[in-house]
Symmetry: C2
DNA sequence: TTGTAAGCGTTATCAA
DNA sequence: TTGATAACGCTTACAA
């Protein structure tokens, strides 16, 4: 087994006390340059590296760890967020502990508790559906937290999209192209983003005096396959829609698969852009935003709060825009 | 500030010694049920949670942390790997510290050192190009490590794809379709996977007595844009190819973009599948494999080694297959 | 069955 | 400018 040198070893080799080694390691002032050189040499020779766990054991010392809980890392949206977070964290010498809640609130809670046991300095979370009392400062032991994509507890910073506005613009664009029978396929309406996007869809119809048709509103689809089936049902209607608004990237993929299978290409507006959207042979409207930037913003909010814990909770909106892809 | 209760607090409240609390927390036998109940009650009341950093400070105690260094988390291939790793780690109550090397060996080395300072129990790494002496057991302080996607140091476990065979099969399939002028666009030939895939391409041509044409072999492209430009150059040739073999997902995307721009659709075989490949209006051959499974395998190898550090290094090959997408 | 005391590797206090 | 010593929160010999 490989022995790992400690400050004691360095101190012994350099012929100084352990405190002096600590001073050198931490670049404290008031160290005699000569002593410093001796110590540095010993550090080099032994290949000493400070044990971060031991250092952060002492209260008030940061652990250099952040927690990130998302619902599902296999969704490119969340992995893009994770990228942004990591980028900022890495710049500051922090590491990120990532974990997936699978959209399960009790699992999310357990993960958060485990993360707290590891002494994370801050938490970023995409809160799963449900009550979020366990995100209260008390239960988080005053560890700063940022909610991502969905609002968390009232006293948390958050980074959100303008979901409603994006949906409204996308559906309005469809209406502008002359569509009146516009279907909507959505994920979980219980999820904040889903609810907001539905509201945007409804608002667009209302603004143009188009009545909502229950047959065209399909809610509660988890994943591509369910969305594909929903599109099938729309195709089978006596009077099918001429356009479809999908509320997230997974749904959009399912819908496109169904259209390909039926070889009937309706107009599509999708909340969420996706890779290769521009390669489609039909034009498609997408609500686009910068997910990596969302992650960066969240990490930055967190670091600001670590530096200044007193400021009141802030919500940061990431802009969305509607663009045409494919075609 | 929120005070975080310690075992001492629990002990005081329950009227027992700290050691008894420790016994209860760790489910040690030989605790009087009554005493245990008292302690559990105190733990509940105070909301006590063991401090993992303090626990793992003692040598021989696992930290419950694993390190993962990939080259670029924004590539879906690597994030899929991370998913698989996390899945296995989470099952065992481990957390994963992720970091991106950006394909820079010195940065990779610094990240590994930082990870070691955090007392990770094991490391998984997609080694960047370059010399990997710093992946020797000595410099890793005998922390078990698994190389992913590319071989690391001789004494490491590794999880690899059968790159050469996949490339050979893909190019052979193109030849089977009657193609003789088959171009190849690749990323970095210095990267192990790139080199292997090039070798597979060359082997396929050789087996069919097709001579390699230097003009059709474009190597050293980083990212989509460079690949797109390479495809442009191929189109401008007096005698352009009839088919293209691309050695990774980024290259493929660039090539498809170029084809769309020129509206000239050559046959394509791609190493790496990609989302929406099946939505393309042309058929495309892809070398497919399960990246999530690669992550799972790597994590499993790591846990095996944690349990039994003595076994010799193992290499695990993840199967690849050639399938037709799109069309 | 329970408790005392030492120690893990670091930082902080305070005295030299 | 340096060093002895006591924490930090926990586990583990060893003792009671």
């Amino acid at each position: 087994m490989n022995y790992r040198p400690t400050m004691h070893d360095v101190a012994r080799l350099a012929g100084v006390s352990i405190k002096t080694v600590s001073r050198v390691v931490n670049n404290e002032p008031r160290v005699n340059p000569e002593t410093g050189a001796k110590v540095s040499k010993a550090i080099q020779e032994l290949g000493f590296r400070r044990n971060e766990q031991a250092r952060s054991l002492r209260p008030g010392q940061a652990s250099g760890l952040l927690g990130l809980v998302t619902s599902d890392m296999s969704n490119p949206f969340y992995s893009a967020i994770a990228c942004g977070i990591e980028e900022v964290a890495q710049q500051r010498g922090y590491f990120v502990l990532t974990a997936s809640s699978e959209e399960d609130a009790s699992r999310e809670q357990r993960l958060i508790e485990s993360l707290l046991q590891h002494n994370i300095d801050g938490l970023m979370i995409v809160p799963a559906v449900g009550d979020h009392q366990y995100l209260s400062p008390t239960l988080l032991r005053d560890v700063p937290a940022v909610a991502l994509d969905r609002p968390g507890h009232a006293q948390m910073d958050s980074v959100l999209l303008d979901n409603r506005e994006g949906a409204l613009q996308a559906v309005t664009a469809l209406i502008g192209e002359g569509h009146r029978r516009i279907a909507m396929i959505d994920g979980y309406p219980q999820v904040y983003t889903g609810a907001e996007r539905i509201a945007g869809y409804a608002a667009a119809l209302r603004q143009h005096q188009i009545e909502q048709v229950p047959d065209l509103i399909m809610t509660g689809h988890h994943g591509e396959l369910q969305a594909e089936a929903a599109m099938d049902r729309l195709f089978r209607l006596g009077d099918p829609p001429t356009a479809v608004f999908t509320t997230n990237n997974r749904i959009t993929l399912g819908v496109l698969r169904a259209m390909k299978r039926w070889n009937r290409w309706l107009a599509v507006a999708s909340f969420d852009d996706f890779e290769l959207a521009d390669m489609l042979h039909i034009p498609i409207l997408v609500v686009r935003y910068n997910a990596v930037e969302m992650g960066r913003k969240a990490a930055e909010l967190l670091f600001h709060r670590l530096e200044d814990p007193q400021t009141t909770a802030r919500t940061c909106y990431v802009p969305v825009e509607v663009v045409i892809r494919g075609g």
